[in-house]
Amino acid sequence: MNDLATESALIDRCRKQDPKAFADFIDLYQARVLGFVKRMVENSEDAADVTQEVFIRAYQNFHRFDQRSSVRTWLFRIAHNLCIDRARKTDRRLKTASLSYSDEDGDEVIDVQDTRWEPETMALDNELATVIERGIGELSEKLRPVLLLHDREDMAYEEIAELLQIPVGTVKSRLFLARAHLQQVLTNYWNGDVVPSRKGVTS
């Protein structure tokens, strides 16, 4: 409650474009936004630039923030839009997961076979983390933000739906497909089909 009040006071000061308050706001969100952007943008230098741009845009437009959504949703919406813009500017061809699906209305029946899964045998060491990061990088522009916002940022389905302007059912189906793809990547890794390289993973 106290944290909420503190954050609310901080947001009020940020809306008045108080630079000191905004510095505190940056400290609060910089790692999370940078993590999100790094996973959305391939180049790490681009990610650093885009993250700076996210905070500059937030500072410029904070007085327009009407608090209808949470400040986190608002900030990640800016981040998501800038990542998409950057990807289009650099004409990046995002690799899509090799899963066929249709998520236009969110009510489709998904037919993805569940593979054998033994999470208790997996510890998140550096190698495994690299495999997961690689798997996230392979996700499409549509699936990746849903996975990151739900499983990294712990956002609710409704919040993600509002942020991405898609139905809740679509959020769920995309989340399922993203996780299913990662599950496949990890299973391949576990079976020895994928060997992590120094920089990433090679098949």
Partner: protein, 150 residues
């Protein structure tokens, strides 16, 4: 409708499956790197630049708003003044025409009087003593009828 509800229910069940939750946990446990100090310093300087720009804009607006209000009020006043003067100028246009017509008439009358006085009375009579308007007309006075023309 029922199929849709079942589909949604199935999707929730699929998302809550052990395999899906296991992946979610692994994704959640990924570490985020803290941005380095150089990045943060660069961002702070950019924000300060923006802050200066915002303050400049506020000062500009502080002067611009009253000035624009004053300009607007001046324009309104000008419009009001012009619109109130317009009806007075419109009827004043025919007046010179009337005045010029009366001047022409006076000049013609004067000329006729002078010519009449010269013709009728000859040299020596003061012009004011003969008046063209007071003179009897030929058609009215039978004495002055030109019998040669009859």
């Amino acid at each position: 409708m029922k199929e849709r509800m079942n589909s949604r229910h199935d999707l929730d069940q699929l998302l809550n499956a052990e395999a899906q939750q296991g992946v979610a946990k692994l994704v959640r446990d990924l570490k985020d790197e803290e941005p380095d100090m150089a990045w943060r310093a660069a961002l702070s300087s950019k924000i300060m630049e923006q802050s200066v720009a915002v303050q400049r804009r506020r000062k500009f607006n502080f002067f611009l708003k009253p000035a624009s209000g004053l300009a607007l009020a001046s324009c309104l006043a000008l419009v009001v003044v012009v619109s109130t003067q317009r009806p007075q100028t419109v009827p004043s246009n025919p007046a010179p025409a009337v005045a010029s017509a009366s001047i022409e008439k006076l000049i013609i009358d004067e000329h006729q009087n002078v010519a009449y006085a010269t013709d009728v009375s000859g040299v020596g009579l003061a012009q004011p003593e003969a008046n063209y308007e007071r003179a009897p007309r030929v058609a009215d006075d039978p004495i002055l009828v030109d019998f040669f023309q009859l």
